[in-house]
C-alpha cells in the first residue's frame, strides 16, 4: 500500500522538476521582496532598513480613506475595470471569430496586425494622439468633424460626462488585441474534425460557434476573468493619468486609485504610503478573487484557478 503510493508519487517527480525552475524564479523575483510589504505598516527608515524600522500601525493607509474622494476613486476603479473585462471579453471573442473566419490569409494577417499594433503605443504617445483629436484650439474633432456636422465645439477636457465613454473606447482600441490573440490561439487549438462533423450534420455558422467554439473558449474566458478580478483595484496608470492630461475638471470620472495615490504622493517621497496603497489594492483583489474562484468551483470544478 505505502509502496504503491510512493511509486505513484515517483511517477510525478518529472512534473515537479519541470515546475521547479519557474518556481525558483518566482521565489526570488516575487516572494522574497514580498517580505518588504511590512513597510506598509512601518515608519520607514533607510538606515534601519525595512525590518528595523518602527511600526506605525495603519497610519500609512489612512490617506486612502481620509476624504469623500475615497468613494469616487473606488467607484471609478471598479466601474472601469468591470467594463474593460466585459467589453474586452465580448469584443475579443467576436474579433477572434471574425478573424479566424476570413478566407483570405492576407486579410487575416492585416487584421491581426491591426488589433495588435495599438498595444505598442505608450500612454504618453496615446495621450498626444487623443489630444490631436480632442484639443480645443487645434483638435481635429472640434475643428473639422463637429463643424461639418453642424455641431458646436465641445470642451472635452473639462466635461466629465464624456470620459467614461472615451476611456472605455480608448482602452478597447488599445488592448482589444491582447484578448483577441489569445482567443484566436484557442480557436486554432480546436480539433478541426469537430467542424467537419458539424458541417456534415448541417450545422449553421451560429450553431458551430455556440456548440463548438464557446465551450472550448470557456476555460480561457474564466481564467482571464478571474485573473482580472484579482487586479480589479489596480488600473492602467497611463490611461487614466496621461490620456486625460491630468485635467482637474474631469477627475470625477477619471480619478482612480492609482492616479489618486500618485497625485497625493508626487510632491512627497513616501515609501510607506505607496506600499500601503498597493497592499490595500492587493488585499481587496485577493478577497474578491477567492470569492470568484469559489463560485466558479461550484459550477465547474475543472475551471477554477486553484
Amino acid at each position: 500500500m505505502m509502496k504503491s503510493k510512493a511509486k505513484k508519487l515517483k511517477r510525478y517527480v518529472p512534473f515537479y522538476l519541470m515546475f521547479l525552475p519557474g518556481a525558483i524564479y518566482l521565489l526570488i523575483n516575487n516572494y522574497l521582496p514580498m517580505a518588504g510589504l511590512v513597510v506598509a505598516f512601518k515608519q520607514y527608515n533607510v538606515r534601519k532598513g525595512i525590518f528595523g524600522s518602527a511600526w506605525c500601525g495603519l497610519k500609512n493607509i489612512r490617506f486612502l480613506f481620509a476624504t469623500p474622494d475615497a468613494w469616487v476613486i473606488t467607484r471609478n476603479t471598479i466601474f472601469y475595470n468591470a467594463s474593460f473585462i466585459i467589453i474586452n471579453t465580448v469584443l475579443g471573442i467576436m474579433f477572434a471569430i471574425f478573424i479566424c473566419d476570413t478566407i483570405n490569409k492576407r486579410m487575416q494577417k492585416i487584421y491581426q496586425s491591426a488589433i495588435l499594433f495599438p498595444f505598442l503605443m505608450s500612454a504618453v504617445i496615446l495621450s498626444y494622439i487623443v489630444y490631436a483629436f480632442l484639443s480645443q484650439s487645434t483638435g481635429i474633432v472640434n475643428n473639422t468633424i463637429l463643424p461639418a456636422l453642424g455641431l458646436d465645439a465641445v470642451n472635452w477636457y473639462s466635461e466629465a460626462r464624456y470620459w467614461p465613454f472615451l476611456l472605455v473606447f480608448i482602452n478597447t482600441w488599445k488592448s482589444i488585441g491582447y484578448g483577441s490573440l489569445i482567443f484566436i490561439s484557442s480557436i486554432n487549438g480546436i480539433d478541426p474534425t469537430f467542424y467537419e462533423a458539424a458541417k456534415l450534420d448541417g450545422a449553421t455558422k451560429w450553431q458551430q460557434i455556440r456548440n463548438i467554439m464557446f465551450p472550448s473558449l470557456t476555460p480561457t474566458i474564466i481564467t482571464l476573468t478571474l485573473m482580472s478580478v484579482g487586479r480589479i483595484f489596480y488600473s492602467d496608470f497611463g490611461l487614466f493619468y496621461q490620456v486625460p492630461r491630468n485635467s482637474g475638471m474631469i477627475y470625477s470620472t477619471t480619478n482612480v486609485i492609482d492616479t489618486y495615490v500618485y497625485r497625493g504622493l508626487m510632491k512627497q517621497s513616501n515609501v510607506g504610503m505607496s506600499a500601503a496603497a498597493g497592499f490595500y489594492q492587493s488585499v481587496v483583489g485577493f478577497a474578491l478573487v477567492l470569492l470568484a474562484n469559489l463560485i466558479v468551483k461550484k459550477f465547474s470544478k475543472e475551471n477554477a484557478l486553484f
Partner: protein, 296 residues
C-alpha cells in the same frame, strides 16, 4: 442554403474588421505624419492629416545621436530575444505540470503561481535584493532578470490552453507507449501548444521591448546598457527640459529642436521594428500542428 449563410457571415466579419482596421490605422497615420510635419506648423495648426509643411528635422535629430541609438537597439534586441526564449521555455515547463489534473498538490502549485499576480513587495525591497544579493546594478543582467523573465499571468494562460486543447487521451496513449515526460513535453505539448506559446511569447517579447523600468532602477552609471526605450525617454526628457526652461545657455541650440514632432518620431522609431517583424512572424500563430497531424 448553408453556403449562403456562411458567406453572409464572412461579409459581416470582413466589414467589421475593415472598419476596425481603419480606426486603428488613422491614429498611426497621424502619428507618422506628425513626425515629419514642420514643428511650427504643428504647433500653430495642430496635428493634421494634411500638413501644410513637411520637415525631416525630427529624424535628423535622432540620427545625430548616432552610435548610441544603434547600441540601444542592440541591447533591446539581444534582451528581447533571450528574455522571450527563456520566458516561453520556463512558462511552458511550468504550465505543463499545472495542467495535469491528477497531479498531487496541483491546487497548491496553482495558488503558488497565481499569488504572485496579486501581491508584490514594491520597488524598494526588489532593489535591495537585486542590487545587494545579486549585484546586477549596471550590468546587462539588470535589463534581463528582474520582473519579465516569467509572468504568472502567461503561465496561467498557457496552462488553461494545455488543459483544454490537449486531450488527456493523448498523454495516456504516449505513456502506454513508454514515452518519458520529457519526450511527451517535447513531442506533444510543445507542438500542440504552439499557438498559445507563440501568442504569449509575443506578449513576453513586447514587455521586454517596451520596458524602461529596469533601466530606470538598475542602470545608473553605465548608460551604454540603456535599451531603446531608456534612450528615447532620455531624449524626450532632455527636449522637454530645454523647451520649457529659459535657464540654460543651450536654449539657442534647443530652439531649433522640433520638440513636438520629435516625440512622435521617437515613438515611431521605438515601434517600427515590431511593426516590421510582426507580420512576417504571424504565420506561426495559426499553423500550429493540428491534432490530426500528431495522430497521423
Amino acid at each position: 442554403m448553408r453556403e449562403k449563410s456562411f458567406s453572409k457571415f464572412q461579409i459581416l466579419a470582413n466589414t467589421v474588421m475593415i472598419i476596425w482596421t481603419i480606426i486603428v490605422i488613422l491614429p498611426f497615420l497621424l502619428l507618422s505624419l506628425s513626425s515629419i510635419t514642420d514643428e511650427n506648423t504643428l504647433v500653430a495648426n495642430g496635428y493634421s492629416f494634411f500638413p501644410e509643411k513637411l520637415s525631416p528635422a525630427a529624424y535628423v535629430y535622432i540620427i545625430k545621436s548616432g552610435v548610441k541609438i544603434l547600441k540601444a537597439y542592440g541591447v533591446s534586441i539581444l534582451i528581447t530575444l533571450i528574455g522571450t526564449a527563456v520566458n516561453v521555455l520556463l512558462s511552458a515547463l511550468m504550465a505543463y505540470p499545472l495542467s495535469i489534473k491528477r497531479l498531487p498538490g496541483r491546487r497548491f502549485l496553482n495558488f503558488f503561481v497565481f499569488f504572485t499576480m496579486l501581491f508584490n513587495g514594491g520597488i524598494v525591497p526588489s532593489y535591495l535584493m537585486w542590487t545587494g544579493i545579486f549585484q546586477i546594478k549596471d550590468t546587462i543582467w539588470a535589463q534581463l532578470l528582474p520582473n519579465f523573465l516569467l509572468s504568472a499571468w502567461n503561465v496561467m494562460m498557457i496552462r488553461t490552453y494545455f488543459m483544454t486543447s490537449i486531450p488527456d487521451s493523448l498523454y495516456e496513449a504516449a505513456e502506454i507507449d513508454g514515452a518519458s515526460q520529457v519526450k511527451i513535453f517535447c513531442n506533444i505539448v510543445i507542438p500542440l501548444g504552439r499557438p498559445i506559446l507563440v501568442t504569449m511569447g509575443t506578449f513576453a517579447g513586447l514587455s521586454y521591448w517596451n520596458d524602461w523600468t529596469n533601466g530606470l532602477y538598475y542602470i545608473v552609471k553605465n548608460k551604454n546598457l540603456y535599451n531603446v526605450q531608456n534612450l528615447l525617454n532620455q531624449m524626450v526628457n532632455n527636449i522637454q527640459y530645454l523647451a520649457t526652461s529659459s535657464n540654460s545657455n543651450v536654449t539657442s541650440a534647443a530652439s531649433s529642436i522640433p520638440s513636438t514632432a520629435i516625440q512622435m518620431a521617437i515613438a515611431f522609431v521605438a515601434i517600427l521594428p515590431i511593426m516590421l517583424i510582426f507580420p512576417t512572424f504571424q504565420k506561426y500563430y495559426s499553423k500550429g500542428l493540428t491534432l490530426g497531424g500528431v495522430k497521423g
